[in-house]
Symmetry: none
Subunit: 134 residues, 4 copies
């Protein structure tokens, strides 16, 4: 039996494409955003804090990206009765805030994108637009 298994890793070039597409959408919407891309290990690959975005959204956008990368699902769907436990138990890394999406390529979960500074709906629109660029 092999000691290893093949995997796919998101490239940094793809991460830059995600940042650029997210920033373009945010600019078009007139809502500056913080955008964070993490890999499948929840480690940050790329980050952009746009002019006029909220600095504290660096934390929440990172949590959104991590949650989406860890679960493979859009953020916002944790069971409400468990979300505070999960949030505290993960030291804030698991969040039920909207605006995080898993990055799935050819059926493989390779990371997550988190967007924050707008409403949850705005954040989600920007994350969705970013993924369309891949």
């Amino acid at each position: 039996m092999s000691n290893t298994r093949p995997a796919l890793k998101l490239t940094h070039a793809a991460a830059l494409k995600l940042l650029a597409a997210a920033a373009a959408k945010a600019t078009e919407m007139g809502q500056p955003q913080v955008i964070v891309i993490v890999d499948e290990g929840c480690n940050t690959l790329a980050l952009l804090r746009m002019d006029g975005s909220r600095i504290l959204s660096v934390d929440t956008a990172t949590a959104k990206a991590m949650t989406a990368a860890a679960t493979g699902h859009p953020t916002g769907g944790l069971p409400v009765e468990a979300e505070t436990r999960l949030a505290i138990g993960s030291h804030g890394k698991m969040t039920n805030l909207k605006g995080g999406l898993p990055i799935i390529v050819d059926g493989h979960l390779v990371g997550g994108i988190g967007v924050g500074s707008g409403t949850g709906e705005q954040d989600l629109m920007v994350a969705t637009a970013a993924l369309a660029a891949l």
Copy 2:
């Protein structure tokens, strides 16, 4: 395209004026307070912990100042359904406690003031009195 954008920074002299005015109001009210001033990047500019104030209010007053500086709005107005998510996801920096006000000069958001140790209403009165000194 320019690589920079013009901005205004709150001076430390103004921060000291805010501390002094806040402390005077708190003394007049008979409620000692912790007062924190942060700049637009949520970095602390000035802090005063008054005799008889609550030491743990250093944390909450800082969160209030940061939240007001990051959002540009008085604290206490986050959507109730999101406030716990935002608080945990920001590692305690975003708060819905009353007593934080943005510092806005000539239409520019240049920081935030956070006050804590009294009731939310008392904290807000002290923060309001401080801003009147600018």
Copy 3:
């Protein structure tokens, strides 16, 4: 036997006097500074970050103030062979950087002042000038 012992606590009014005197000296010297006052429990009483000072000096000035308050001596005199152990073992709170002085009133150790952003000698001059104001 009594369960308590009398103590002296530095007032916040005195802490503000220290900030003002330190800032005046720093301005006179043309070297903006970060100034931190802690009480005898090493808890911050007052802080000022002057325009043009180094933001990372908030950490080091706090360490200087804490070290002086904890030891009762000016910073810089820890045994060289132990200083790195003490620094790491205290999570950075004990420092051998110059610029911290104990605040001693009527023979009682009531806190510490830490100054940072200049050279060690400049920092010490500002701390010394501040104490002269008490």
Copy 4:
């Protein structure tokens, strides 16, 4: 007396230009890098972790960027006798590792860039190439 002072802020567009130029240089050199851009308040504006770079360099590249932004000088020039004190006293934010450069536009210090994963000389070459893109 005015309560504010004029300042310049690095734009996120400029931060993206810095990332792109740094990545291009790193690719040309065959040495993948982590690149971090911070603003004048030492808050991260943009980050890129290139394929094949060292993940722990996220921490050191951030420290390099912060040190350059806080001091206004290239990293590596702290007095050797003080560097360990400064590093520990700043909780690792001040570093004497090479590869950090201040970002100065029209004579104003607006942030710092930190590069890490190669040798100090390689890191510095990449940071230098990035700044040339502004």
